[in-house]
Symmetry: C2
Subunit: 121 residues, 2 copies
Amino acid sequence: MRIKEVSQRFGLSQDTLRYYEKIGLIDYVTRDSQGNRDYQESDLQRLEFVCCMRDAGVSIQVLREYIELNHLGDETMEARKNLLIQERKKLLDKQAIIQASLDKLEYKIENYEKCLSTKKI
Amino acid sequence: MRIKEVSQRFGLSQDTLRYYEKIGLIDYVTRDSQGNRDYQESDLQRLEFVCCMRDAGVSIQVLREYIELNHLGDETMEARKNLLIQERKKLLDKQAIIQASLDKLEYKIENYEKCLSTKKI
DNA sequence: TATTGACTTAGAGTTAACTCTAAATGATAT
DNA sequence: ATATCATTTAGAGTTAACTCTAAGTCAATA
């Protein structure tokens, strides 16, 4: 699959896709006879994971560490698991923080609604 | 209250507090006879709100807009309400995205656990 | 054959949100 | 009286994560 289609599929710019490859967030993508990237199924799967994590706010640095551990083979399984557990913790914390923020917003919005309806009477 | 204590209370650096004031995220803080900031109750309340929103990822730009509308008085109540509703939507979307990420992480972690326990037999 | 379009590269530039630096002031502790 | 400490200011520097630029290649189309 060529870069344009991959870009559309994941909602990442072509620049970002090349950048992710340059910094090792995805492996070197094979090139076709013209020298253009030809993304394989495995690349797409990696991108799926990377996009999902990036969308949630997982840092590039952490994802690179994870990828790096992957490259080092089975010995690093425990380390990888622990890394994911850490990130899960961070995301759970973030959800709680967002929830607190939502509660505050909810309260303020209701307040505005009260004010606005009163004003109209 | 002096900047040091405010900094500790909200977990913001003194630099950040001065920066927030400079860009209008909080109003100009009154200075004492020595020219040092003396944060009032109203400043602390504003900071409480700003911090909560910033922690959840609401952008400074949006918060500045909100503050700006506040300065413009009661006429802008509807606009302020709508701005908050928009931000609520963004945060709800973000929660869903994080949940998707968490589900994926959960799956992977379980997988690692299976692999690791099998290896030990 | 000329031009259009999709791609390539290396490297520079951008943006949001801080964070740091340097020089100065005034109050407090030794 | 001197040193230390908490402040102040304007403005420069940093970081993460892109995003853009310029110059070039190749294949397809008018």
